[in-house]
Symmetry: none
Subunit: 195 residues, 4 copies
């Protein structure tokens, strides 16, 4: 049972830190802030994590893994490519966007603390496959090799995430809905399909 208690503390730290890092940034969050938020003694923080940096690293890593799992769950189903794509756009992306804290940290700290290239590679391979299987008129993807595809995915994902982040933290004149709508239209037009 001691084990259960430990896991609990660990996750409390992770949870609070995630919120604080997302809200105030990594550098504007002190270990002491985490201590206050968790009501745990400082020493305990260092029982579960070797240092401040490791806390972000774990947040990013675990957050990513959960995301990845959810994605491959969707992608791995027996359904048609179009259905998968629809789920991707209508469910998966909006779900991700709910975890704004994670996105914030991912975007500002991930590069520093993770091997991001592996993540991108994995993601783009999976989606490239899906897109190819879906494109009605194969000519549409003409000139779109793996590199272009990867570029496209990176641009879109980073674009979407950052746009949502911007929309939520400034008073820019658009809404998250506009972004999602734009994405859907773009995918439909690009692939010549209707979702």
């Amino acid at each position: 049972m001691a084990r259960a208690k430990d896991e609990n503390k660990r996750s409390i730290i992770l949870h609070s830190a995630k919120m604080l890092f997302a809200q105030n940034g990594f550098f504007n969050t002190s270990i002491s802030d985490i201590v206050k938020e968790t009501n745990l003694p400082v020493g305990s923080i260092y029982t579960y994590f070797t240092n401040k940096e490791e806390i972000v690293r774990v947040i990013v890593e675990e957050g990513w893994n959960e995301l990845r799992a959810r994605l491959f769950d969707t992608m791995g189903s027996k359904e048609s490519g179009e259905v998968k794509l629809k789920k991707l756009i209508d469910n998966f992306i909006p779900e991700i966007l709910n975890d704004l804290d994670l996105i914030n940290i991912l975007l500002s700290e991930a590069i520093k603390y993770t091997k991001i290239e592996e993540k991108v590679e994995e993601l783009s391979t999976a989606i490239f496959g899906l897109v190819q299987s879906v494109a009605k008129d194969k000519k549409i993807l003409e000139g779109f090799d793996k590199s272009s595809m990867e570029a496209a995915l990176i641009v879109y994902f980073l674009g979407i995430f950052n746009a949502v982040k911007l929309v939520r933290s400034s008073s820019v004149g658009i809404k998250v809905q506009d972004i999602l709508k734009f994405v859907k239209i773009t995918v439909e037009k690009s692939l010549g399909i209707t979702l």
Copy 2:
């Protein structure tokens, strides 16, 4: 009349700070780092800027103004919309991407230190106009209102900048060229034109 404020010193500080902020981030750059880099005494930093924050703010603001000026220079010419668009894609964007330091800072600090919404608004209005004037088949823009356009621009610009940043700071499998190529193809397909 004593010594006049030395515009040269001011620009040395700005230059060094820009590099350091871009390289190590705002919080990992200390005033003392700037002092070492510039070989100026601490006090001098503070004769030209009231505090550390003002240094980023000025970098962002002046950088943005220069960018904006170059953009409107291109946009304001008497040439056809297509030529302008071509210049935008072939010259302007690549030029921007050269100033990676500025992009880095813009992306990580701009929201905090500037009224970013005004900038976005200005930019998207200008480009919306251009795109409308260029789109061969007006049906192509069907369903694309101002909000969608703004969303698209934000997603693309943030996407491009962040993608370039990622490409340059990690060992992701694509090159800046791939990104630029993707952008060009996308614009051409979207508007049904060839640049």
Copy 3:
């Protein structure tokens, strides 16, 4: 349970700071001076006090409380008014004057860091009562209402303290003894009694 806060350290800091503040003033005493005097690391100063100002505030407050306690100890006894007055003049005041450090700080910083009016009010009420009970010939206090009494006490106390301070820090031609003697004579004459 880790280390407990060391009451001893706290008091060393208070002691050293009191001496330094009294000797050189609040502004001419740096935290670094206190560090040197106490041989404690800087950080420790801040484990016991939130900032420099709090150190003075505590010195003033604790010093005052001790003083007050001693005063009411004397005043609260079952002895006659005259005996109490005698003790006040012969013991209490001279004792206070020994803690020159405290007086110095009290006089120069107290107004800023304490609600001095409450202290004055409390003191003057107590002494007014004593004086009334002692005055042989009630006519002597004629025309002496509460306000006059308060004025008198403030003038005398501030006068005595500052005079002692002056005597000790300059080479003025009188001694503390002269001041004490003057006070005694004045009280005796005013109240028509012999102590």
Copy 4:
């Protein structure tokens, strides 16, 4: 004419500094504050005074001299002692109290920056003479030698000044009038006269 201009600047500095020192204290007033207040360039401050300390010193010295002059003006007249004493209490002291700025500085900085003992000596000699000439019943001054007198004067003057200072800067329950009234009554009773 250059001379006139100079004197003017000097006195502007002195005037502003006096106000600022009195209001915020010596250490909370920076040379830069004086610069802002006077609208003079920093360099000019140092043309007229060798350093910050000298500014207070001059304020104290000149303020004192003016005071002294006014006092001896009153004291040196051909009038009776009683009239002089009355003027002292009814005019001179209230007048002094108007220059609260000076009092503030005098009390907090004078000891450090002036040979205060000479001033006290001079003052007490003069007033001792006056008091002796006035005391109706010589027995009243019995036991009051020069030292006692000096002690009394120091206590009263410091008491009065500090009390006024206290009254004006805190919300203590008495008014300056109460202090002046107390002084008058005390003098009358002590000397057995009516002013």
